[in-house]
């Protein structure tokens, strides 16, 4: 994996205009002019943002057509989503396991009815110490 690939994606996603552009592109490829319309931004300003997104691999611009349509690329988004999810899951799931473990400490298994002879043995053993 390219060394700072993920950082480039993080940086590209940190800007609200660029996020809005990505959201717009999720519904299909479009031209720079069309992308610029809702932003009250000049075309060069939008182009600047597009270059950041392009460098991060989040979009590609076709060279086939004169109007060079922009298109969303899913791969880096998947990577970033995986990264975030892994990080979150690490602690969410560790906490879930800790919770379960603490519960076993809180209510130690006391199957008095089913294993009462053993229970008594243990109790006696403990008292001797």
């Amino acid at each position: 994996m390219p060394s700072d690939h993920l950082s480039a994606t993080f940086a590209a996603l940190a800007d609200p205009t660029r996020r809005a552009i990505l959201a717009r592109l999720a519904s299909g490829e479009t031209s720079v002019t069309e992308l610029a319309a809702p932003f009250e931004m000049t075309t060069p300003a939008i182009t600047k943002h597009l270059k950041v997104l392009e460098r991060a691999g989040l979009i590609t611009r076709s060279r086939q057509a004169q109007w060079r349509p922009c298109r969303l690329e899913a791969k880096p988004l998947h990577e970033v989503a995986d990264f975030v999810e892994q990080y979150r899951q690490f602690w969410e799931q560790s906490f879930d396991r800790l919770e379960a473990y603490l519960k076993t400490m809180q209510d130690p298994p006391t199957p008095q009815k089913t294993r009462s002879p053993k229970q008594k043995e243990k109790k006696n053993g403990r008292n001797k110490r």
């Binding site: 950082s7 990505l22 990264f83 975030v84 809180q106």
Partner: protein, 171 residues
Amino acid sequence: MDATNASISADQDFVISRIFAAPREQVWRAWTVREELMKWFGPKGCTLPHAALDLRPGGIFHYAMRTPDGHEMWGKWTFREITAPEKLVLISSFSDAQGGITRHPMSANWPLETLSTTTFEELGGKTKLTIRWAPWNATDPERKTFAEAHSGMQQGWGGTFEQLAAYLAKS
């Protein structure tokens, strides 16, 4: 999810907390006794084939974690402050079998080391656990990556993930 709160504080630390229905001493032990730590540390289905814990300032917790699909990764904590049963301050990093400090496997610009402060608060028989992370000895790009990534984790980059979820599902 609802029991856990994560947020970005003004100084860009990453904070996660949860309230556990157990006395503080017990939660503290679960974090600081090797055999107890091994029972829960890591996501569901993960095991620790190696875990060496030396609980003292300057001591380390060096572990290998094996995921259910057989992946193995090494990590290391270096303890800085141990105030039983209230506070545990440590430096956390990725590691290797030799105990070195290694880069995040997915990002060269992730901070090599992060400072993690875990607090244990008594809450009427329950315990509120809070972990706070900040980059440690980090370069500017590392700091930036940490801040951007964590703001994304917390807010899903302002809902972009939700908007893109359908697209991601299709592709």
